[in-house]
């Protein structure tokens, strides 16, 4: 994904701060990546290059670690994140149906972010609420018993929220509708 305006500076600043704080031992690679992701929400290529330079190791080593572990993501997270639980109990009662519904509605695949960076979708291992299966984490809120209808409901709630906000910002809903049909 292309960097947004000003993102480059933010990346450089945080990576430098974290490296200064953590030191440059190879053993610190994973904690450094964790902290950078905490700050930036993901691991942009630029950050990985800077970390490699900072720890004096090849970039491919950093990339190797970042792709080996599930925690690290290469896409920026959306403003709102959907994490669909794919633990055994959730899978049994339709976790994959929930994921498919999100994919269909958002027109992205799991692990991706919508081009406007508004929503991102991922699968997670058991979140430990097996009694409410299938479970989706909407941002940090747990939604239980998620059916495709509920997926529609969740997305609708966000849409209305955005429309309200945009209404406040002086842009009428109609204008937005127009823009949407243009796109």
């Amino acid at each position: 994904m292309t960097l947004l305006e000003g993102e480059r500076e933010v990346i450089l600043k945080h990576v430098k701060e974290i490296l200064d704080d953590r030191g440059t031992s190879r053993e610190n690679l994973i904690p450094v990546l964790q902290q950078v992701q905490d700050k930036l929400g993901y691991l942009p290529d630029l950050a990985m290059q800077k970390i490699a330079a900072g720890l004096d190791i090849p970039t491919v080593d950093v990339y190797g670690i970042a792709t080996f572990y599930n925690q690290f993501r290469m896409n920026p997270p959306g403003d709102h994140q959907f994490k669909v639980c794919m633990g055994t109990a959730c899978y049994m009662v339709g976790g994959n149906i929930a994921i498919e519904s999100f994919e269909r509605r958002l027109e992205i695949r799991e692990g991706e972010t919508t081009p406007d960076r508004k929503f991102s979708l991922e699968r997670v291992a058991c979140v430990g609420c097996c009694t409410m299966a299938p479970v989706v984490l909407v941002d940090e809120e747990v939604e239980g018993h998620v059916t495709p209808t509920r997926v529609d409901g969740i997305l609708l709630a966000f849409e209305t929220e955005t429309e309200k906000e945009e209404g406040k910002n002086g842009e009428g809903i109609e204008e937005k509708e127009e823009r949407r049909s243009d796109a």
């Binding site: 031992s25 190879r26 053993e27 610190n28 690679l29 994973i30 904690p31 990546l33 964790q34 190797g64 670690i65 080996f68 572990y69 599930n70 925690q71 690290f72 794919m86 633990g87 055994t88 109990a89 899978y91 049994m92 339709g94 149906i97 498919e100 519904s101 269909r104 509605r105 997670v124 291992a125 058991c126 979140v127 430990g128 609420c129 097996c130 009694t131 409410m132 479970v135 747990v142 239980g144 059916t147 495709p148 209808t149 997926v151 529609d152």
Partner: protein, 631 residues
């Protein structure tokens, strides 16, 4: 000058802690279970309601957060203790019930028996846990205090004999004696493999080195298993104490808790616990005034299933990819940074204080001769009482599922139990009477594993389940061994084909052969056990594979490519439109005669119409093989 001994120091701590805990009993106390399971069910909102209502009414009541007591099906849970009454536990508490309880019980004296689930102390008016059928089978050693004490306050643990074992070990026992006690107790590692703890510790102790490490493996990666998380969230000090005793025994001064970063609450609770332990001198230099120094740090794992394997875990702590190494040398000889390292699971460490305090004989008296002690399971899936259970080794699966879990809900038929997660196997009804212990389960083709137990009913397709677990291990294979890397991929392709109805009978032979080759050709247990779900389903549920291959039929109507949704015209009510509205792709239409029907071209098989069709009509059904009935 009189020397103050460790036990004396401990007694002082304990007296103080006990006074504090006793003083809590002078006024009403509300305890709310806020482990992850409770939080997910809305425990925080319940807590806020309690706080607000109590404040509004000007009542003098304490509110305390506790961990999980294992009755996850009834979360959020609240325990109310009021002087003059036994403590009552309430299940499925929502804001309405919280308000009612404040009003009726805390302000007035009506405990609302109709909502109470159980009383904690024996009394003449209300049943206690001993009256539950599951109590006859349960035996709590490491879960004893979980859900009852405040995990955020070290004094609660100390008041319940916490750190007594450490004081005893430091003052009265030599490291050799601790090792012989552990060996005599017969404690085997609870991470899944079941290696004798005494042997591991002794090997590490006897390896001469100035620097040694203790690592607690809390990288619980099995989908559907959460007992380690619950232990850490509900009673973290128990694990810390076990690690301290282990460190004293082998002569280590530094330890790590390797925990998944997906467990933020557990991490937070361990951090608090470590801080409090440091404050009163239970971590740091000269613990209890002895020459023993030890400190602990948290290492956050980054989510790789293979890191549950000890050498992979250590690699990842060193900043490398989590790739297992060939052994020997064992971890106990050359582990983290090449130093002797004791690496045990959360539950293993959690047993240690009890064994030291009550003696090896006590522990040995529970369980079977080869597997002593208890087993902790997460009971999930199609079972009425989901949650966390601790039973003596040797309890049968049937007792666990039908007596403790109270059977299958919705009058469905039991089909199989999946035990041990992706490395385990699926056992059918005929195997339910085997006792749960390391060896019996292995014989049946499953493994003890870390303790995830998923109950499956008639609606679950065994081929799809096998495929689900294989997909998991295939993604998590680190890629070092060819058989594990490519073999699992090949098996997954075959299983995918079968679930799509494109399989051949010859595939079953290839699956069997590949499964055995992968077991032989893999270095670590991820590869060695990855084929278990396939081998057991092939062994016990071959007919389901055959139905997929020969008839294009999924007996459980689960495999998408082999089913279609159909609205039975005789059952459909013309007057209702629920299914039409529920369809996300507008595949349901109204026929000329007013009945509803599904456009099979458009249908995405999302199950919505079947779920929403009112039970009095129950008109939507799944058909497999996917052939429409002739009108």
């Amino acid at each position: 000058m009189k020397v103050i001994t460790a036990v004396e120091r401990y007694t002082e701590l304990k007296t103080k802690a006990q006074e504090k805990v006793n003083s809590l009993q002078d006024k009403p106390l509300v305890r709310i279970g806020t482990a992850t399971c409770g939080l997910a069910a809305g425990a925080l909102q319940v807590k806020e309601t309690f706080e607000e209502e109590i404040k509004n009414k000007g009542l003098d009541v304490r509110i305390q957060e506790v961990g999980c007591m294992g009755h996850c099906y009834a979360e959020p849970l609240a325990i109310i203790s009021k002087p003059g009454f036994p403590s009552f536990c309430y299940g499925k508490v929502d804001e309405g019930l919280a308000k009612l309880l404040v009003d009726s019980f805390l302000e007035n004296d009506d405990p609302c028996y109709e909502y109470a689930m159980v009383a904690l102390e024996p009394n003449d008016i209300f049943p206690t846990f001993t009256d539950f059928p599951r109590d006859a089978y349960e035996k709590k050693i490491i879960l004893e205090h979980c859900g009852f004490i405040d995990p955020g306050d070290i004094e609660h643990y100390i008041a319940h004999e916490g750190y007594a074992a450490l004081a005893k070990a430091l003052e009265e026992m030599k490291p050799e004696e601790i090792i012989s006690e552990m060996t005599a107790s017969g404690l085997r590692g609870r991470g899944g493999a079941g290696f004798p703890v005494g042997k591991k510790w002794s090997l590490c102790k006897d390896t001469p080195d100035e620097v040694k490490y203790i690592i607690c493996n809390a990288d619980e990666g099995d989908p559907g298993a959460f007992m380690d998380r619950n232990v850490l969230e509900s009673n973290p000090h128990q694990v810390i104490e076990g690690m301290l005793i282990s460190a004293y025994t082998v002569g280590a001064e530094k330890g790590y808790i390797y925990i998944r970063n997906e467990y933020p609450l557990a991490i937070q609770r361990i951090e608090t616990a470590l801080e409090q332990a440091r404050e009163i001198g239970l971590l740091g230099d000269s613990i209890f005034g002895s020459p023993f120094n030890f400190d602990l740090e948290i290492f956050e794992g980054s989510g790789a299933f293979v890191c549950g394997e000890e050498s992979a875990l250590v690699s990842s702590m060193e900043g490398k990819m989590g790739i297992p190494q060939a052994r020997p040398p064992y971890m106990a000889v050359s582990g983290f940074r090449g130093r002797p390292t004791v690496l045990n699971n959360v539950k293993t460490f959690a047993y240690v204080p009890t064994i030291i305090r009550k003696g090896a004989d006590y522990f040995k008296s529970v369980g079977t001769s080869d597997s002593s002690g208890t087993a902790v399971f997460t009971l999930v899936g199609k079972v009425a009482n989901t949650g966390l259970v601790e039973v003596p080794m040797g309890t049968t699966l049937r007792q666990l599922i039908f007596d403790i879990g109270e059977g299958i809900p919705a009058e469905k038929e039991f089909k199989a139990v999946q035990i041990g997660g992706p490395s385990g196997g699926c056992l059918p009804e005929t195997k339910l009477d085997i006792p749960i212990d390391f060896d019996s389960l292995a014989e049946a083709g499953a493994i003890m594993g870390s303790g995830g137990l998923v109950v499956l009913d008639e609606d679950d397709c065994m081929v799809a389940i096998a495929r689900y677990f294989l997909e998991f291990t295939q993604q998590e294979s680190c890629g070092k061994c060819t058989f594990c890397r490519l073999g699992t991929k090949h098996m997954l392709d075959i299983l995918t084909r079968i679930t799509q109805g494109k399989g051949e009978m010859a595939d079953l032979e290839i699956l069997q052969e590949l499964a055995e080759d992968i077991k032989m050709g893999s270095l670590c247990n991820l590869g060695k056990t990855a084929p278990n779900p396939i081998l057991t389903t092939l062994r016990y549920f071959r007919d389901e594979y055959e139905a997929h291959i020969l008839e294009g039929r999924c007996p459980a109507c689960m495999c998408k490519d082999l089913i279609l949704y159909y609205i039975v015209p005789e059952k459909c009510s013309k007057l209702c439109n629920v299914c039409v509205g529920s369809c996300p792709v507008e595949a349901i239409y109204t026929r000329e005669d007013g009945l509803k029907a599904i456009d099979q071209e458009k249908c995405v098989k999302c199950d919505n119409c079947l779920k929403t069709c009112p039970p009095e009509h129950d008109a939507v059904i799944k058909l497999s093989p996917p052939v429409l009935p002739e009108d």
